[in-house]
Amino acid sequence: MWWQLRAAGYLFSGAIRGMAQYRADVVFTVLAGMFYQVTTFLAVWVILARFQAVAGWGIKEIALLYGMRVFSHGLWVLPLNQMHQLSRYVQEGTFDRFLVRPVNPLVQLMFTRVRFNALGDLLGGVTLMIAGLCMVHIDWTVWKVIYLVLGVIAGAMVEAGIQLALSSLSFRFVKAARARYTVDDLFNMFGNYPARMFGSVGMWTLTLIPVTFVAYLPATVLLDRVGAEGIPSIIAYLSPIVGPMVFISGYAIWMSRLRDYSSTGN
């Protein structure tokens, strides 16, 4: 474990030095990421400026939900965004190099190169979440503070686990990255809205996928709306447990697919 961390440190500092050449590009992509979150939220804001509420959620509550979702998203993308290189590494045979080194291949994948694009999501998400928290009325207790922190981390773990499992398809299929992007789109689009609006069939489908665990269920608990949303309260309260569960399963799938991996033979 200790060796893995040290190796990660070495790789990371090397990657940082490599990236320093593209300073302007880094700033630009961070801004682009932040701008993306701002404009998509702007669309919701414009709708709610005219119609006040969607499925009983006003703009303040949605700001909180949206902020938590984007924060969680940034939290997993920041360390794991190099997943998108996996297809290419497998295709070019670069991945074989990871396997002969005595460091966990996932750690190598994460830190051989780094990108800070997700900082934009992180900053946008935190800002929106804090704005939401300031505007809504929450009866704060110590438990709720802990719940908020755990909820955001668990939300990141849900997405990371799913994406990790899907990325393992790249060991078999060259074009598998597309499937991952489509699922990411699904989370980006449907995760930011109160799921009740999709009707009970839609809500249960999104809970199974499990989109609602990322932000909707934790936000519902924080806002004391569990009863009003028509979800069994046990599922809502226990939502932070689902994060680690999904992440561990995702990692297990990734490792088991890795065992079946055979080089493209470069």
Binding site: F28, G33, T39, V46, I47, A53, R178
Partner: protein, 255 residues
């Protein structure tokens, strides 16, 4: 024509990926139709706009957005970086024409793919027949042409920076909102609709779709088409200007 065939083959090589592209507009139109149904909250009409107009609007705007996404910036970036642009410039056809034919081959492919999107739109969102078919087709064509000009302007940036980076992403983000694809201009606050109305992006998606659903009708439709025409002339002139100096830059670099 032979060149178009070549670009077709290039596009055809990516057919599986293009097939995956249609999933995003499908998700988008289902999501937006749900949002609008939820905000209408059982009312069949809001501000004189029937719900079915809104669901048709989001269906159509998702399809138009799909038609306007194009790999032109990536293509130009790759050609410039690998130096292939030098060989492209030796062709008897101008560089600009080659880029346009590339877009034509993609839009034809995507028009065919709409076969998959239309039933999804009809079932999960809403799709009424067009209020005025003639003006709609004219506006749709002009909208696509304006978008192609905007893409060409953006792609030209690579001749100076050699790196598109987040630029393409930023463009899609900005145009996604400013084109009216997410929220139609009639539901925007006055000041915002004023700003967006003065920009060319709304002429790409909002104008044709609003004509389709009849929110812009009669004489107003032809007036909106006139505005599109003015944008097209202005942008096309700008494209010609920018690309001429871009091509000169390639010569300076030595290809």
């Amino acid at each position: 024509m032979a060149y178009l065939g070549m670009r077709f083959k290039e596009t055809w090589a990516y057919r599986i990926e293009i097939l995956m592209w249609v999933l995003k507009p499908m998700l988008q139109l289902i999501l937006l139709a749900t949002v609008w149904r939820a905000v209408y909250n059982g009312h069949s009409s809001m501000d004189g706009v029937p719900l079915v107009v809104m669901t048709t609007y989001v269906s159509l705007s998702a399809m138009h957005t799909l038609l306007m996404q194009d790999n032109m910036p990536d293509w130009v970036e790759e050609r410039v970086r690998d130096g292939l642009i030098g060989a492209d410039m030796l062709r008897p056809m101008s560089l600009l024409e080659q880029v346009v034919w590339g877009s034509v081959s993609q839009v034809i492919m995507k028009l065919v793919l709409l076969v998959f999107v239309i039933p999804v739109a009809a079932i999960f969102s809403g799709l009424t027949p067009p209020a005025a078919i003639g003006p709609y087709l004219v506006a749709a064509l002009l909208g696509w042409m304006i978008n192609t000009c905007l893409m060409m302007l953006m792609s030209a940036v690579v001749f100076w920076t050699l790196e598109m980076g987040g630029m393409t992403f930023l463009y899609y983000t900005i145009s996604g909102f400013l084109s009216g694809a997410l929220v139609p201009l009639w539901f925007m606050p006055g000041w915002l609709a004023g700003i967006i109305g003065a920009l060319p992006f709304q002429a790409t998606v909002y104008t044709p779709v609003a004509i389709y659903v009849g929110q812009i009708g009669g004489g107003a439709a032809w007036q909106a088409i006139g505005v599109q025409g003015i944008w097209l002339v202005l942008l096309a002139a700008l494209v010609a200007l920018v690309w001429r100096s871009a091509e000169r830059r390639v010569v300076v670099q030595g290809g």
